[in-house]
């Protein structure tokens, strides 16, 4: 049993498409005095049906890649976003070379570890951040602000564009995939176009910037 904020944590659901990897995560969880539960298959039936059976004392530990085996049709960021929206604290593990996490999902993944071998103390800290954010207390680097986002250039081939967020940095161009945009905004993206979006302008690293709730400039 682990107490984080106002929660008593007993069980960790491990989501990874490789059974060996799931087992290897169990050791760290057991060493924390928690029960590890491997989620064996989320591909069949509704992918998020396992979230319906989740207990208030459960948390999630999820790997980013879930599609190599016939395990899931979505990546871990999607699972985490949906889990967070249902009030479940979770940690997403990804190494630095993984594909970038969708910027809109990132808003709902406070427990992000750019580390595929998390230590118990790292896991515990990440869940704690998650619980705090679920209680409405994001840390400064995760606090969303409505701010101007300017399109610098568009890479049609890679289906992404590069944005400058003047409130964060006028020099850094942040890549944003079209996938993470609502259709009405995607249709408007072109160089020099400006929008408003919720962005965590307190983030230090451009990879940790999330963009959500896009608005056309009035």
């Amino acid at each position: 049993m682990l107490t984080i904020g106002n929660r008593q944590i007993e069980r960790v659901l491990i989501i990874d498409d490789d059974p060996e990897a799931r087992s290897s995560y169990e050791y760290a969880i057991e060493d924390m005095g928690l029960t590890a539960h491997q989620v064996r298959d989320i591909h069949n039936g509704s992918e998020l049906s396992f979230l319906d059976q989740i207990q208030p004392s459960d948390v999630i530990l999820c790997d980013y890649h879930l599609k190599k085996h016939a395990y899931a049709s979505r990546n871990g960021d999607w699972v985490m976003r949906n889990g967070f929206q249902k009030g479940i604290p979770g940690v997403l593990c990804t190494s630095i070379h993984e594909a970038p996490i969708r910027r809109d999902y990132l808003r709902y993944i406070p427990g992000l570890l750019r580390e595929s071998n998390p230590r118990p103390d790292q896991l515990s800290y990440a869940w704690e951040q998650c619980v705090e954010e679920l209680r409405g207390n994001p840390r400064p680097s995760r606090r969303p602000w409505r701010t101007l986002v300017c399109v610098d250039n568009v890479d049609e081939e890679r289906k992404r564009f590069y944005a400058v967020v003047p409130a964060w940095s006028t020099r850094v161009k942040v890549p944003i995939d079209f996938d993470s945009l609502p259709q009405n905004i995607r249709d408007l993206v072109e160089p020099d176009q400006r929008f408003y979006a919720l962005v965590n302008t307190g983030a230090m690293d451009p990879d940790n910037l999330f963009f959500d709730e896009w608005e056309e400039r009035p």
Binding site: D18, E20, A21, S24, Y25, Y27, A28, D31, H65, K68, S95, I96, H97, S116, N117, R119, P120, N153, V154, E156, E157, R158, K173, P175, D187, L188, E190, P191
Partner: protein
Amino acid sequence: MVVQAMSDLRSTTSHLRFSTGIVRRLGEELNPTLSKGILELAKNAYDADATECRIELHDVSQPGGKITVRDNGDGMTSSQITDSWLVLGQSSKRSAIETRLGRIPAGSKGLGRLAALRMGRNTFLTTTSRQEKNLLHELPIEWDKFDNAQIAEDVTLNITTRLADQNLPHGTEIRISDLRSACSRMEVKRLARELVLLADPFDDITQGFNPVLSAPEFEDLEVLVQNRYFDDAEFHLSAEVTENGEAFARIIDWRGNLLYEARHSDLIPKGREIYECPPAKFDIWVFILNKDTFSSRRSTISEVRNWLAEFGGVHIYYNDLRVNPYGGQDNDWLSMNLRRVRSPEERPGTNTSIGRVVVHDQQDQLREKTDRSGFIENHAFYDLRSFACDSMDWMAKCRLREAEHRRQRARKTVPKQSDTAQHDFMSTIADVPQEMRLVIKDAFKSYESSRDREVNMLQKEVQLYRTLSTAGITAATFAHESNANPIKIIRNCIAAIERRSQKISDELFLSQFQKPINGVKRSLNSLAVLGSATLSLLDHEKRRNTRVDLHAVLNKMLEIFSPFLRGADVTVIKKFASGSPFLRGQRAAVESIVTNLLNNSIAAFEDAGTHDRVIEISSQIMDRSWCLSISDSGPGIIGICKSDIWLPGQTTRKQGTGLGLTIVRDAVLDLGGSVDAMEHGPHGGAVIIIHLPIIGNERC
């Protein structure tokens, strides 16, 4: 609270009135340039069903000049002047109501006219209505009176009507005198261009509206525009979107043969059903401006190039009149040039093509901005643009397929052509005298044999590149696999063993487990480098042209290589110049340079069995140049000429590819720099010296 009874003492009516400042501001802000203002008046003539509209400029190179705009349109009655022409912000023109000649009016708010009239201090209107040909109406406007008045209605305007003895020609003349600003020659040229293009001069069917500017610039352009080099275009893409939002397209070649046809499903991106824009027709003519293509054409490249330089780009004709700025000289609303940069072979640019999007919009789905700077960017406009872009994307794919077929055909036909040429040569020298024939044959054989050697070498080189590419792809796949799961699992397990053994007994851990666990960890780190270094090189972002901080790249590469370098017992000495020098280029190019040089040194140590292994990496900044020097304690450059080390395939190592330093040289040249080498440097081994031009050096 006490509410007292109140009764109305009196009632006063009032009106919202406008200060004359509004009139001034509308004039200044809506039509900032003279050409824009005159274009508005020409559009007014079009709306009045004029077939001719003549514009004269007098002494406009200085302030105080005069402009006359005369048309043969329907003219106005006195009440039309009062109730329509002089009413701001309201127009009798509505898109749904066609004019007598079936035109859809181009004006919308009547504000453009006001702005145009205010270009001078005085305006004089003369008009005769088609219905009252014996009446001439005149209206002078002195704008200074408005500047001196408080509100617009304080200035009285007098319309004088004269009765003529005979029928007068109907139409309107506007004289704007005492111009507030001068008009440069560039501005006149711009006006001439816009008037020439106003009524789609490219269409075979004329619109029956001819705006004419009495200026030499206009005459030159009019001649140029009439030349119409469409038949010399290599391809003509013709696409159409119908009223129900479905599109289709076809491409024909310069001989008029149909090459490709696309249905709606071939054009529209997946996930979308229809284009939600007014019905439109998009034509673009694409030119290939090279000598081979033009050898069989009627016109010359320079003629076509001049024509395209003036009129190239994709124009929009909205209800038969051109809309600025689309297709203007600085306007690339379909991002054609950006797309062309990415794939020059298949994409047209604004200087190599000309096109138009013709829109007949009865439903007013598109709306022009009040300041006439284009359409309001609403859903219909974006879909219209998507339709044009998707059509061009489809054309690019067709052209890419064609280019690939051409390459395949060339592969098959080139050897045959070579055999035929050889046969022709032999037949030709059969006619040469006997002794000369033998000499020529020997010389030809010698040429053939050296050519075969060269071809052989090139084939080997191509094969080597292919093999290396395959090795690279395979390495990347394995790197991804090994980095993802196996290494992750081993790390998780070894961390668990470490934690649990420590928990049992610190003493036991230190004496029995710590050393083997650390051994596994070190080996894992070395193994992980293989994956991370490979994946790091493959990052697509690194192949974009961007600011590259050279010292940051060096440090990052050394960090990635550190387990390898440690594993090979190499000591790295860093002597970097102060600050952060940077250039604009591809990070991947700089990484290729550093990676290949580090690999070379490590391989040299291994081959020579070097005992004290040192790599010194130093940098200096001289003016606008960054000098990188990598020297090692290996055997140096031996067994190969110093100048040959850069050649492909030249290596002294059995397993070497001989491509590492070639890649270094090519990458340096791509960045605008130079390379040099020394056989033996301060540590005894080779020194490679690289100079790269930099943009600046940021002090820390």
